[in-house]
Symmetry: C2
Subunit: 292 residues, 2 copies
């Protein structure tokens, strides 16, 4: 078993970006982080993104709205960011409060600034294999891990556990495409799939994105499989000061010995998501430069 | 074995639309058919669409450009159709000549008039399960067949043979969604899948959209499966005046006895594609009325 070290690979990408951004003359790339409310996990994610941006030399602008902001007001705020030519990328931190239609908000971000890749147009471009669009960060990060570890996908069986718009659906589409990390046979399983393990057991590459702590057990995994764990779940742990610890969707201790390559949680997909956000921001910037 | 009669189901939809369109006051829905060149199959498809529109009471406008039209000129023509408020829907008949980037053309059609559903934004909305968009006609037609025949999809295994942008990818996404014709476990197979038959043999619903005449043979199909044949292939047949006959991607004679439900070619998915184009055109019209 070999660990796929997301921190290490993300660091390499961040260094590459730092070198690239240093060559940019004049204005630097600038990303706006929009946060609604004070959810502790969101606060922490956005802070991590701000720090990474700063490290690379990407400017960022944090905009915080109260939990009570109306959907219309939020749409107007996003529109003014869409219009602001000093902002190259916009990230609206999920989850949003329940009274706001997240899909509507994500679709209101200009496709050209949608560095999160949640906009319908960018999702469609991903399906179209149109590199002009932005691929959402977690799926892009998963594929980048596979690419940089030199894991073959052509003709391989990829099983995606979960069908979310943000991870499951797009990551499967990426492995199905015709690129060097594509040409796989892709199966989507989810909560309504009977005999889940029958499918997961056949996976050469298993993507666990079902949002259930330690859901994937060793009997569900084929010996020698590559296991990518997208889950970030808090479970109670009295031995920790915080009273909890983070675990993935995979029962790591038991599954790891059976797999050939596996991502840990934390330190696997998580840091890659942040790194790919930065890649997208630099891409958004370069596109405005190319067309200005 | 029962035949899924696409002509019959399409007729019912066309009747429903005729009744609905008769209630529209003032301007009727109007769709523009854009054809480039004189490819006989394209001429015939567009003629069929014109006739069906006329039957329903949908106006149509046929615009034909020579095979030699430049991509830029075609883009300009589409833009003027986008601007024309008397046109509610635009269909650019595929295939386009090789010197034209089809994806670029399809993406240039306003998402609001994209009754073919090939635009990135509508493809993304399909993935997002956003009913506000237009679902491309062949996938929509397949799902409508399944719905109207009362075929259960929840927890069922759908195998999609083919990963085209126009059929394979979107139809799988539809069966993966959460609606009444969704919640299936979906596998995509294609030309790079080893042991194709291992996958197809497990399908409760098999969608053959690989573009190879009579590719699916009886050993590839599970007894009692529902088989949807999307292929339209010409094969030589000296007994026909034309010298050819149409066959699907399924070897119908041999597969039919093994299946529980199967679509014929012609008369299966084909007429549904045309019917769903009309459904989309009426929807485009209703959306302009709702917002005017």
């Amino acid at each position: 078993m070999e660990l796929i070290d997301g921190n290490e690979i993300a660091s390499v990408i961040i260094e590459e970006l730092t070198t690239l951004v240093a060559t940019f003359q004049g204005h630097k790339p600038c990303v706006a982080f929009v946060r609604v409310g004070e959810d502790p996990a969101s606060v922490s994610y956005v802070r991590k993104k701000e720090k990474t941006a700063a490290k690379i030399g990407i400017e960022s602008k944090l905009i915080v709205f109260p939990e009570t902001i109306s959907q219309d007001s939020l749409l107007k705020e996003i529109d003014s960011l869409n219009q602001d030519s000093s902002i190259h990328g916009i990230l609206v931190q999920a989850p949003l409060p329940e009274h706001i239609d997240s899909r509507k908000i994500f679709n209101s971000v200009s496709p050209k600034k949608d560095v999160d890749g949640f906009n319908a147009t960018n999702l469609g471009k991903l399906c179209q294999e149109d590199n002009d669009g932005f691929v959402s960060c977690t799926p892009a990060g998963i594929v980048e891990l596979i690419r940089r570890k030199g894991i073959e996908t052509e003709g391989k069986r990829v099983v995606v556990l979960g069908r979310s718009l943000i991870v499951g659906k797009p990551v499967g589409m990426l492995f199905l495409g015709k690129g060097s990390t594509g040409n796989a046979t892709v199966t989507y399983c989810h909560s309504r799939t009977p005999d889940l393990e029958r499918h997961t057991q056949e996976a050469d590459i298993l993507i666990a994105a079902i949002g259930k702590p330690q859901f994937v057990t060793e009997d569900m995994v084929r010996p020698g499989a590559t296991v990518i764990d997208v889950g970030i779940n808090r479970i109670p742990d009295e031995s920790k000061k915080s009273g909890y610890r983070l675990v993935g969707d995979v029962d790591f201790e038991k599954v790891a010995p059976k797999s050939s390559l596996i991502t840990p949680v934390p330190g696997g997909v998580g840091p890659m998501t942040v790194a790919m956000l930065m890649v997208n921001t630099v891409k958004a910037y370069e596109k405005t430069i190319a067309t200005s």
